[in-house]
């Protein structure tokens, strides 16, 4: 049943990447429990705009938990208190009347703050560009059913592919490691027959890029899995580590292939 809450927000405000940030306090009054967390922020922002103040900048787009755009640390937990739920699908019924709610951006060296709660996650795109794909240029490949994929592998690949690239795993990790994100893609593609030819170069290239971007190492805290809104498991990290070791052992410098013509 719908109820109404009066809340106090403590929001990280930071004008831009160069500026120093600080917490600011805002009241949020008469908030319906039917609202989503972002709709609550909309209400606060509407008031700020009417007062001529700068509204709180936060990233969001689909508001149905799939695009991965939104994300802030709510009460110390990435995406807030509800398990397997993105900030946009978190509803105000998860809070109590009179609550104080701190709201912060993802904090990681590899995710510099752009403004307030908005960070730059371009590092994730660069990791994918380094190897998070199967080379299959547009054309007419063989028939989709020519290569059967065991259902279990297809299902495991789909489990890993469900990652939305929001970055909560990085924000939750004490080392700001991106291992859960990277391993999800490595697993998905490595589990499928189409991904085999590049399986070991992929993992090497992606890990190298991940390190270069300034993400930390994994020390098995498990915070990433706990906050992942899509339930990506650490099993993927284990799978990536296995592939990475094998890739390192198998590594041979590329032999220049002459193009006789």
């Amino acid at each position: 049943m719908e109820k109404h809450l009066n809340l106090t927000l403590h929001v990280w405000r930071q004008k831009n990447a160069q500026a120093e940030g600080a917490f600011a306090e805002y009241p949020a009054r008469h908030i319906s429990t039917e609202m989503s967390f972002l709709e609550m922020l909309d209400v606060v922002n509407e008031e700020l705009i009417r007062k001529g103040e700068d509204p709180i900048a936060f990233d969001h787009d689909c508001r149905e938990g799939i695009c991965g755009t939104c994300g802030c640390v709510v009460k110390g937990r990435p995406h807030g208190p509800k398990e397997r739920t993105t900030s946009c699908q978190l509803h105000m019924r998860s809070f109590e009347d009179g609550d104080h709610i701190t709201i912060e951006p993802w904090r990681a060296e590899a995710f510099p703050v752009i403004k307030d709660l908005i960070v730059d996650r371009g590092a994730f795109d660069r990791i994918i560009a380094a190897g998070g794909f199967i080379t299959a240029p547009t054309g007419t490949p063989q028939d989709a059913n020519a290569l059967p994929v065991p259902k279990q592998n297809a299902d495991l690949a789909m489990d890993a592919a469900a990652c939305i690239g929001c970055g909560a795993c990085v924000a939750a990790c004490p080392n700001a490691s991106a291992m859960l994100f990277v391993s999800a893609k490595v697993s998905q593609l490595g589990l499928l027959p189409q991904g085999q030819p590049e399986r070991y170069t992929r993992v090497r290239d992606m890990v190298a890029r991940m390190d270069a971007e300034g993400f930390g190492s994994c020390t098995n805290h498990g915070e990433c899995e706990a906050v992942c809104p899509k339930g990506i498991t650490m099993e993927n990290i284990a799978r990536m580590n296995r592939d990475f070791i094998k890739a390192s052992l198998l590594y041979r410098p590329e032999v220049a292939a002459g193009g006789a013509g």
């Binding site: 719908e2 831009n16 319906s32 039917e34 609202m35 989503s36 709709e39 909309d42 209400v43 922002n45 509407e46 705009i49 009417r50 103040e53 700068d54 509204p55 900048a57 990233d59 969001h60 787009d61 689909c62 508001r63 149905e64 938990g65 799939i66 695009c67 991965g68 755009t69 699908q89 019924r93 752009i114 403004k115 908005i118 371009g122 795109d125 994918i128 560009a129 998070g132 794909f133 199967i134 299959a136 240029p137 547009t138 054309g139 007419t140 490949p141 989709a144 059967p148 994929v149 259902k151 297809a154 789909m158 592919a161 469900a162 939305i164 998905q188 593609l189 499928l192 189409q194 991904g195």
Partner: protein, 639 residues
């Protein structure tokens, strides 16, 4: 304005193959001398940018999101159609073509639809090769499900996240090209103006959403793949950022706008809860494979819990009215039927604007485990939003704006009335007629991006001289930059009292009431009076804090709302002038005695393409007649 659809000669099944041979090619070593701009990174944009990059062209791709992976194609749940006939249930390219033309209520161009059905087959092969984890059966082969408007099982899916997986496949192909330096990606950039010189598209002006910098980008061809304009309605299943700005700017530079009134209202969305509502969430059409839609037969039962309403007092109205398609009747028909029962006072939920989608029969038949396997993530999402468990109580759903079949007019090559400007995916008007069938949007986006544009854009480029790009400081570019900067200045300068969202909401109410599921002359005329008033009030009283030289989300929104306030007017004008009912366009004056859409093929078997005439002038309505040589015009029946 001349509307030449450039449909190739010959029998329909040979047109595309013949055309592919007839089109000009660009020599591989010349390709790097050409530059193509792609605006938008959804299925159509990412697929086009990746494919053109692979071919060797220099590509710049722009998106307003922080990453190309976030485009709203990602939210498509149910699936993608393809005429593979893996089920051996009688599917074929011709049947998919037939279903799509009929599903679109005979308001789409036959040749385009046939090509779409043809390449649908290649799309699945392409996506599987990329590693898209489609659902599979125990034998390892691909699984299928059924979608509305079809009597075969031709929909491929990846759980309830098909759009996500297809988009990530295209995104990964795009990122591969980014890594190779073939594509330059510009995230957090929004297109503000199209640069046109001597009637030809030569580039775009963008605003960097982080720094506010307004910059010119020139190219040999421009592709817009910026999606639909359904957010004109305010509440919609679109992402919050989806907007019509790019296509509207192009329209104002001379691109004709095709069928702006064709809007899809999707029957299965989570109902509105209150004024705070910022968007609506779709529940996939695939749920109608196993869910049964009903309302109480008696008004007085509407307040009771569903479980207390006995079977004989339930009206499974889709099964009753459309026995052969039942709960899988097409979207326009299902939405209208839901509106009718709610108008009769038989809607459920607090607002009375809802109908039940009930899984209890399917759970009894198949077990909760099987249902969870098929729809688990959708059920979870429903519970997160509504706090109700759909395994125990029926879902409540209501129609919501979901897609726009209208868009910029394009010829068979997907080129608009401005040479050099191509329009792909939902942003164009081309393939769905007056109603899109489920699982066809993903198909069209990828068809345009992977398999059509790479050929037709090349054909266009081959007719231009390499190295003839506009200098970046050309007067036309400077002028377009000035127009973009002026708009920013004008918005910031209003200094009123109300937020951009306020005006967006006001516009949405007018659009939903008068240009939504039911439209009539009086209502549309009323809307055409109200919208200019809201627009005037917007330009007098909008308030945008901050400056243009920083990340400013209020400014971004205000710019989009300013365009919605004009797009809405054109939608209403088009709806007023189309004096018939067809597909999603239901004019209450034209209906059969049992409330079905009544087409007027004599007078309206055509595309309406609107030409801009300058501010304050009524645009001109041009006509492209539609010929139906392969699917004969007939009253659409799903009974």
């Amino acid at each position: 304005m001349e509307l030449n659809s450039r449909i190739p000669e010959g029998p329909i099944e040979k047109k595309w193959d013949k055309h592919r041979f007839d089109m000009k090619l660009v020599n591989p070593s010349n390709r790097r001398k050409y530059k193509v701009i792609v605006v938008g990174s959804g299925l159509a944009g990412a697929a086009a940018a990746a494919s053109l990059g692979e071919l060797g062209y220099e590509v710049s791709c722009f998106c307003y999101q922080d990453s190309p992976r976030r485009a709203h194609s990602i939210a498509a749940q149910g699936g993608i159609n393809a005429a593979k006939n893996y089920r051996n249930d009688g599917d074929s390219i011709f049947r998919l073509f037939y279903d799509t033309v009929k599903g679109g209520d005979f308001r789409a161009r036959e040749a385009n639809v046939y090509r779409l059905a043809q390449v649908s087959v290649d799309i699945i092969d392409q996506c599987v090769a990329q590693g898209v984890p489609f659902a599979r059966e125990y034998g390892g082969l691909l699984d299928n499900r059924s979608f509305g408007g079809a009597q075969v099982s031709r929909t491929f899916y990846a759980r309830g996240q098909t759009g996500q997986q297809l988009l990530l496949g295209a995104y990964q192909a795009l990122q591969r090209q980014v890594g190779l330096g073939q594509v330059k990606m510009f995230p957090r950039h929004e297109m503000q103006e199209l640069i046109v010189v001597d009637g030809v598209a030569r580039g775009i002006v963008t605003r960097d959403m982080v720094t506010g910098r307004i910059e010119t980008h020139v190219a040999d061809a421009v592709c817009l793949a910026t999606g639909g304009y359904g957010n004109t309605m305010y509440l919609a299943t679109y992402a919050k950022g989806c907007n019509g700005t790019a296509i509207w700017r192009a329209y104002k530079k001379g691109a004709a706008f095709g069928n702006p009134c064709y809007t899809q209202i999707h029957p299965t969305c989570i109902p509105v809860t209150g004024d705070h509502q910022s968007k609506l969430t779709l529940m996939s059409e695939s749920l109608r494979n196993d869910g049964r839609i009903w309302v109480p037969k008696k008004k007085e039962d509407c307040g009771k819990p569903a479980a207390q309403i006995p079977e004989e007092d339930r009206d499974y109205y889709l099964e009753r009215k459309y026995p052969s398609f039942g709960n899988l009747a097409p979207r326009d028909i299902s939405s209208r039927a839901a509106k009718q029962v709610c108008d009769e006072g038989r809607g459920v939920g607090g607002t009375g604007l809802g109908v039940y989608l009930d899984f209890s029969d399917a759970i009894r038949r198949l077990g909760a485990k099987k249902i969870e396997e098929k729809y688990g993530n959708l059920f979870e999402m429903y519970e997160r939003i509504t706090d109700e468990n759909p395994y125990e109580v029926p879902m409540r759903i209501f129609p919501a704006t979901h897609y726009t079949m209208g868009g910029l007019w394009v010829d068979y090559n997907l080129m608009s009335t401005i040479p050099g400007l191509f329009v792909l995916g939902e942003a164009n008007f081309s393939d769905h007629g007056a109603n899109r069938l489920g699982a066809s949007a993903l198909m069209q986006g990828l068809a345009d991006g992977y398999f059509v544009a790479p050929y037709t854009v090349a054909n266009y480029l081959a007719s231009t001289k390499p190295g003839s790009r506009l200098p970046i400081d050309h007067p036309a570019a400077k002028e377009a930059e000035a127009v973009a900067a002026q708009k920013v200045g004008r918005l910031l300068g209003v200094g009123g009292k109300e937020t951009p969202t306020h005006f967006h909401r006001e516009l949405g109410k007018v659009m939903w009431e008068f240009c939504g599921m039911g439209r009539n002359e009086a209502g549309l005329k009323k809307a055409l009076g109200l919208i200019p008033q809201i627009r005037e009030e917007f330009w007098r009283n909008v308030r945008i804090p901050g400056s243009g030289e920083e990340l400013n989300q209020s400014l971004e929104l205000a710019g989009r709302v300013a365009d919605f306030l004009e797009i809405g007017e054109l939608m209403c004008l088009d709806a007023l002038e189309r004096r018939e009912s067809c597909g999603g366009h239901f004019r209450e004056e034209w209906q059969t005695p049992d409330g079905e859409a009544l087409r007027d093929d004599e007078n309206f078997a055509h595309v309406a393409a609107w030409e801009y005439q300058g501010e304050g002038s009524t645009p001109v309505r041009h006509i492209e007649p539609l010929k139906f040589e392969y699917v004969h015009l007939a009253t659409r029946s799903y009974k």
